[in-house]
C-alpha cells in the first residue's frame, strides 16, 4: 500500500482526478448531451432520439441564421471596442493616477457597487430613463436641445449596446487593473529616463505589459455578449435578434433539438473567436 502511494504517477493521477471528475460530470457531459440532442428530431410537443441532419440543414441554409450571427458579431464587436476603451481608461486612472492604496481600493469598490443588484434590474432601469416620455428626453426638451423626443434612445441598437457596455465594462476594468498593478514601476522610470514621452510609455511599455489583462477582459466581454439573450430582448423591445434569442425561442416552442443545434454552432463560433484571440497573446506565459 505504502509502495503504491510512493508511485509518483499514481499519486499524480489521484490528485488530478477530483477536478477531472467534476469537469467531466458538469462540463463535458452536458456539452456532449447538447451535441447528441442536436441530432434528434422533434414534433410539436415531443422530441425523439434519431440521427438526422435536419436541424443543421435548416440552420445553415436559412438566411435568418446568417443575419442573426452577423447581428451578434456586430453587438460583440461594438461592445468590445467601447468596454475596452472605457475599461482601459478607468484602470489606467486607478493604477497610475491614484497614488494612495486606500483610495485605489475605495475607488475600485465604488466601481463594483452597481453589481450589488441583479443585472436584469440594472438593465431594465434604463427603460423608463430612455423612454419617449422618459427622463433623458424630458431633460433634453426642457434644456431646449431638442423639440421632439428622440425615438432611437430606446428599443434600438443604441439602447442594446448602451446596456451591454453598462453591464460589462467592469469585466474589462478588473483584469486590466490587475495586470497594471503588477507592472514594475521602475520600468516606467527607466523609460522616462531614456527620454520617452508619456504617449510612448503608454504604447511601448504599458499596453504590451497589459496584454494578458486586455485579453482576459476581452474573452469575458465577447463570450458574455455572444451568449446573451435577455438584454437584447428587453432593450430592443424584441425587435432585434441575436443567437441567444433564436435558442430561447426554440426552447419556448419545445424545439429542443433545433435549440441544441444552434447552441452547438454558437459554441463552435465562440471557441473560434477565443482561439483567434489567444493566438495574439500566450496568456499562460504572460501570467
Amino acid at each position: 500500500m505504502a509502495a503504491l502511494f510512493r508511485n509518483r504517477h499514481l499519486t499524480g493521477w489521484l490528485l488530478a482526478s477530483p477536478l477531472a471528475a467534476v469537469l467531466a460530470f458538469f462540463l463535458v457531459l452536458p456539452i456532449l448531451m447538447i451535441v447528441v440532442v442536436s441530432f434528434w428530431g422533434a414534433t410539436e410537443f415531443s422530441i425523439y432520439p434519431a440521427f438526422e441532419f435536419d436541424n443543421y440543414h435548416f440552420l445553415l441554409t436559412s438566411p435568418v441564421t446568417l443575419q442573426v450571427f452577423l447581428n451578434t458579431f456586430k453587438y460583440a464587436l461594438v461592445t468590445w471596442a467601447l468596454t475596452l476603451g472605457i475599461g482601459f481608461a478607468v484602470a489606467y486612472f486607478l493604477a497610475f493616477h491614484v497614488r494612495s492604496q486606500t483610495w485605489q481600493i475605495a475607488l475600485f469598490l465604488l466601481c463594483t457597487i452597481p453589481f450589488w443588484t441583479s443585472n436584469i434590474i440594472r438593465m431594465i432601469s434604463w427603460i423608463p430613463f430612455l423612454g419617449r416620455n422618459g427622463l433623458a428626453n424630458s431633460t433634453l426638451i426642457s434644456w431646449g436641445v431638442i423639440d421632439e423626443p428622440l425615438e432611437w434612445l430606446l428599443f434600438s441598437d443604441f439602447s442594446v449596446i448602451l446596456a451591454f457596455v453598462h453591464l460589462y465594462t467592469l469585466f474589462m476594468v478588473v483584469p486590466i487593473f490587475n495586470t497594471m498593478m503588477r507592472i514594475d514601476r521602475s520600468l516606467i522610470e527607466a523609460a522616462n529616463d531614456a527620454g520617452a514621452s508619456g504617449f510612448q510609455i503608454l504604447t511601448n511599455v504599458i499596453i504590451p505589459l497589459c496584454k494578458p489583462g486586455i485579453m482576459i477582459g476581452s474573452i469575458f466581454v465577447v463570450t458574455l455578449v455572444m451568449g446573451d439573450f435577455i438584454t437584447v430582448r428587453f432593450m430592443s423591445g424584441s425587435q432585434s435578434a441575436n443567437v441567444g434569442r433564436l435558442i430561447s425561442n426554440d426552447i419556448a416552442l419545445l424545439q429542443y433539438p433545433s435549440a441544441a443545434a444552434t447552441a452547438v454552432i454558437l459554441l463552435v463560433t465562440v471557441l473560434m473567436v477565443i482561439g483567434t484571440l489567444l493566438r495574439f497573446v500566450d496568456i499562460r506565459k504572460e501570467l
Binding site: F45, S62, V64, R132, N133, G237, S238, Q239
Partner: protein, 424 residues
C-alpha cells in the same frame, strides 16, 4: 420554462381513493361517500387565466375535496398534457391545445348526461352557433373539437354526440387596445395597426400562434389578402402576411413587441405605444393606473379564444365521480360569476346571474350603463356609474367573432416564418 409541481398527491392517495370507490359502490351508503370524498385530491393544471386560488378554496368549502392548482404557460401546458398524462387529473386547456392533445388519448370523453347544466351551455360550444342565425367563425371553433364519437374516442365529430372532450369554462373576445387620449380620433378598423400615422407607436404580441392571427386580421381588413381560413393558412398566405408585416417593421411601424402581460401594460401605460394587440385584463390594469385605455371594438370583428377542462384518462372510481361533481359545480354559477366580474364569460351565463348583482350583470353581460361603481372580485373599482363596457353586450361581442385561436396544419412553417419576421 417552469414546470413547478405542487407536492401532495401521490399514487397511494389515488389508489386509496380508487379502492374506496370500489368499496363505496359495493356498499352504497351516502355516509361513506361523504367521508371518503374529503380524502380526494384532484390535481388540476392549466394556464394562469382560470387557475385561481379562490376557486380551489371554494371547492374545499362547497364540495369538501381538495383541488391542487398548477399554473404554466400555454407551451408547457400543451407539452404536459401530451407527454405526462399521469401528472394530472384535470387539464384546464384552450380549445386549440385540445386539437393537439386529444389525439394522444391522454384525456377521456365526458358523458354529457352526467352534466346537469349541459342544456344551458352556450350554443358556441355545442352547435357552434351563438344564436340560430349566427355564422361560425374561422379558426379552431370550440364546437369543432368539442365532441368525440364515444368513450375511448380519439377523433372529433361535428354533431353533439353526447361525449364531450372539454367542458367549456371560460372564453372571451380579443381586439386591439388603444390610448384614446393620445390618438384623439375614432378607431374603427384593424387596418389602423399598420397606419403610418402611428409609426413607431404600434405593437403586436410576439407569441407566434396568436400574433399571426392578429396580423391576418389586419391584412384581411386592408384588403391585401383574402384568406381561405385565417385559422389554417396555406404557406402562401403565411408568406404574404409576414411579408406585409416585415415591410412595416422595417419602415419602423412598431415600437416594440411584447411577450408577457406586464410588458403590454407597461408599453401602453408609458405612452410608448398607442395602439397594440392586447388582452382584456391588461386593459383593466392600465385603467387602474388612472390612464385612459379602451378595448376598441372593430368593424371586422374579434379574435376569440376559449378554454375548458378535460379529464385525464387515468381518472376512475371515486376520483372520477369527484371530477364530475367538480364540473357540475363549476357550471352551477359561482365560478361563472367570479370570472364574469373580471370581464370573461361563463359557459352557462344564466346560472352566473344568481351570483352577480343586477348592476354587475347589466354592465358585464347586457352591456348596460353601470348604475353604481363596478368592482372586480378583489374589490378594486373597474368602472364608475354611467360607464358602458367596451364593445357592449355579450351578444354584440361574442356575435362579432371573426376568428378563433387556432393551431394550423402548417404550424412549424409558420413558427419559422414568425422567427424570421422577429429577426428581420
Amino acid at each position: 420554462m417552469t414546470q413547478a409541481t405542487k407536492p401532495g398527491l401521490s399514487r397511494r392517495t389515488l389508489l386509496t381513493g380508487a379502492a374506496a370507490g370500489v368499496a363505496a359502490s359495493a356498499f352504497p351508503a351516502p355516509m361513506i361517500w361523504a367521508q371518503n370524498i374529503k380524502d380526494i385530491t384532484l390535481r388540476q393544471f392549466g394556464t394562469g387565466v382560470s387557475n385561481l386560488n379562490e376557486v380551489a378554496q371554494k371547492v374545499k368549502e362547497d364540495l369538501g375535496f381538495t383541488l391542487e392548482m398548477t399554473a404554466l404557460d400555454s407551451d408547457a401546458v400543451t407539452q404536459r398534457a401530451a407527454t405526462q398524462p399521469k401528472s394530472f387529473d384535470i387539464a384546464d386547456i384552450e380549445y386549440w391545445i385540445c386539437k393537439k392533445v386529444w389525439p394522444t388519448g391522454n384525456l377521456q370523453a365526458m358523458d354529457t348526461s352526467k352534466i346537469k347544466n349541459y342544456d344551458k351551455i352556450v350554443g358556441i360550444f355545442r352547435s357552434g352557433k351563438l344564436t340560430p342565425e349566427s355564422t361560425i367563425a374561422q379558426g379552431t371553433a370550440p364546437h369543432s373539437v368539442g365532441f368525440t364519437s364515444g368513450p375511448g374516442g380519439k377523433d372529433f365529430v361535428a354533431e353533439e354526440s353526447g361525449w364531450m372532450t372539454l367542458i367549456p369554462t371560460i372564453y372571451n373576445a380579443d381586439t386591439l387596445g388603444i390610448r384614446p387620449d393620445l390618438i384623439g380620433r375614432p378607431i374603427e378598423s384593424w387596418t389602423e395597426l399598420l397606419n403610418p400615422e402611428f409609426k413607431g407607436k404600434a405593437s403586436i404580441l410576439d407569441i407566434s400562434s396568436i400574433g399571426i392571427m392578429d396580423a391576418a386580421m389586419v391584412c384581411e381588413a386592408m384588403g391585401e389578402i383574402a384568406y381561405g381560413d385565417k385559422g389554417n393558412m396555406t404557406r402562401e398566405e403565411i408568406d404574404k402576411t409576414m411579408a406585409i408585416f416585415t415591410e412595416a417593421k422595417k419602415a419602423g411601424q412598431f415600437r416594440a413587441f411584447w411577450k408577457t402581460f406586464d410588458e403590454s401594460v407597461n408599453l401602453m401605460a408609458s405612452g410608448e405605444v398607442v395602439i397594440q394587440s392586447m388582452w382584456s385584463p391588461a386593459i383593466t390594469a392600465v385603467k387602474s393606473r388612472g390612464i385612459p385605455c379602451v378595448y376598441q371594438p372593430l368593424k371586422e370583428g374579434y379574435r376569440s379564444w376559449g378554454g375548458g377542462i378535460g379529464l385525464s384518462a387515468n381518472l376512475s372510481g371515486l376520483a372520477l365521480d369527484a371530477a364530475y361533481e367538480y364540473i357540475n359545480w363549476y357550471l352551477s354559477g359561482w365560478v361563472g360569476g367570479f370570472l364574469m366580474r373580471q370581464g370573461y364569460y361563463s359557459a352557462v351565463p344564466e346560472t352566473s346571474k344568481d351570483f352577480m348583482s343586477e348592476n354587475e350583470w347589466g354592465y358585464w353581460f347586457e352591456g348596460k350603463p353601470a348604475t353604481d361603481t363596478i368592482t372586480n372580485p378583489q374589490g378594486q373599482p373597474m368602472a364608475q356609474a354611467g360607464d358602458v363596457r367596451d364593445g357592449g353586450s355579450f351578444y354584440d361581442r361574442m356575435g362579432a367573432v371573426a376568428c378563433w385561436n387556432a393551431v394550423m396544419d402548417e404550424n412549424q412553417y409558420m413558427v419559422r416564418k414568425w422567427n424570421e419576421f422577429i429577426a428581420a
